[in-house]
């Protein structure tokens, strides 16, 4: 379980403070596919980065399981991060490494036995449907294939949590669908809790069982996806639904 309690994040820029996250409270249960939806600049990327401390909260707490991880540093932080996988909008694959080597990377960091890493990476590539692409380089792959490699890489350490930062925002509709299916499979078969950041309600509706809507650093709404969609409370949510309705119509 991930609990975020009274989390605030402020940046000090040019003399005045910019509050990017304001008193965020969220609970993500084990096995959830939890969506965080908001416009650009709403704070969702910052929020998700507070979970693996790529961003450090200014105040408040982040609890994973029973542990307050908010001020983890050094070895503790490294160990924490190994238990959390992350994928990104632009895939962030290492361009000078081939696909297999990319997937092995997290294991290489721990000086894992080469034969074991190799086997593990091959197994993961099979799982994401790229078993025959091990010796390819990222520049030779399509966007969807690259994101699959990124997913395989994020799973290398068998994490219990996976963070997805706008993972499908750079992909076309069909590719988005196949990536979402893959994530659903991972959630179901491996029991990985997924935190999914997106600006698209349609995408969130497609895989998230629970969602939170964020606007200008505040959580304006959260709950089961179906409930939020049927009965949006917040103005922003209604706007998002209304606008997407217009776009899709």
């Amino acid at each position: 379980m991930i609990r975020i309690e009274h989390l605030t994040k402020t940046y000090a820029t040019d003399g005045h403070d910019r509050c990017v996250l304001d008193d965020i409270n969220l609970t993500i249960n084990d096995g959830d596919i939890f969506g965080i939806i908001g416009e650009s600049g709403a704070g969702k990327s910052t929020l998700v980065r507070c979970i693996n401390l790529l961003e450090h909260p200014t105040s408040g707490r982040v609890l994973i399981g029973d542990r307050d991880i908010t001020s983890y540093t050094g070895k503790e932080l490294i160990t924490l991060r190994r238990g959390i996988g992350m994928i990104f909008q632009n895939f962030s694959l290492f361009q000078q490494r081939n696909v297999l080597s990319n997937v092995e990377f997290p294991l290489e960091l721990q000086h894992e036995d080469k034969a074991k890493s190799h086997a593990r990476a091959s197994e993961l590539l099979e799982m994401v449907g790229l078993g025959d692409k091990g010796s390819y380089y990222p520049s030779q792959l399509s966007g969807g294939q690259q994101q699959r490699v990124a997913i395989a890489r994020a799973l290398a350490n068998s994490p219990k949590i996976m963070l997805c930062d706008e993972a499908t925002s750079a992909l076309d509709t069909m590719t988005t669908h196949s990536i979402l299916e893959l994530l659903k499979t991972i959630n179901r078969d491996l029991g990985v809790t997924i935190v999914f950041i997106t600006h698209s309600l349609a995408v969130a509706e497609s895989i998230c069982n629970r969602i939170a809507v964020i606007d200008a650093g505040h959580i304006v709404e959260q709950g089961a996806t179906a409930d939020v969609f049927k009965n949006p409370q917040a103005k922003v949510t209604r706007e998002l639904l209304g606008m997407e309705g217009q776009v899709l119509a």
Binding site: G85, F88, Q95
Partner: protein, 225 residues
């Protein structure tokens, strides 16, 4: 044709020795400049305010050292370092005598080139590595230097060719090489044919180095597959 034959009979050995001295001077200096310049460049990037381990004081000091190193014209550094050069290699003349000031002059230049190459690495890759639990050292070696390799190799070409130019100036303190020949024969004895010959050799050397560097960088860059 006859003219060429008599020219090479007279100056062939001289030019060959000069070419060899220039190549050795430049190659060895580039090597040592990178031995110093890579750690220096890495430190500048890592301690920057947007780096892995920001350290304002250290970063400022390193920046000053690099800037001062780059500010002093090579010809002045060459002369000013004579006592130091003698202490390190026992002489201030010849190829060894030129290598010391060449390295001292080139290392800050290399540091800036390395800094540039490392900064070109996509920040998203560094973030991804951090998310997998990489230490700063691992990020430097496995992400920055590895992903920056094609750019670093292009930097080596640039450094090499810059040092060809500097090595010519080393000729003014009797350090040998093609520059030395150009000055002694071309400038002091008004023998334009010799000077012309050294220029042509330098042009050929630069072409070879640049082409080889470009080719290597291209081949090694997996983004070109």
């Amino acid at each position: 044709m006859e003219w060429f034959q008599s020219f090479f009979a007279q100056y062939g050995t001289l030019l060959a020795q000069g070419t060899w001295d220039t190549i050795v001077m430049t190659f060895v200096s580039t090597l040592f400049a990178y031995v110093i310049g890579i750690p220096l460049g890495v430190l500048v990037v890592v301690t920057a305010s947007d780096g892995l381990r920001p350290h304002h004081a250290l970063n400022t000091v390193l920046g000053w050292i690099v800037n001062i190193g780059r500010s002093i014209p090579f010809i002045i550094l060459l002369v000013a370092l004579i006592p130091f050069t003698r202490w390190v290699v026992g002489t201030s003349l010849g190829v060894p005598g030129a290598i010391v000031p060449l390295v001292i002059s080139a290392a800050p230049f290399v540091a800036r080139m390395v800094e540039q190459s490392l900064r070109e690495v996509d920040g998203g890759l560094v973030e991804a590595a951090q998310s997998f639990g990489a230490s700063s050292w691992q990020i430097v070696c496995k992400v920055l230097l590895h992903e920056g390799l094609p750019s670093l190799i292009r930097g080596v070409s640039i450094t090499f060719i810059t040092l060809f130019g500097y090595s010519a100036m080393a000729g003014t303190v009797g350090a040998g090489g093609l520059g030395d020949i150009a000055i002694r024969y071309g400038y002091q004895r008004y023998q334009n044919d010799v000077m012309f010959a050294t220029i042509i050799i330098l042009i050929v050397l630069v072409q070879i180095v640049q082409t080889a560097g470009d080719h290597l960088a291209f081949k090694l860059d997996k983004r070109n597959r």
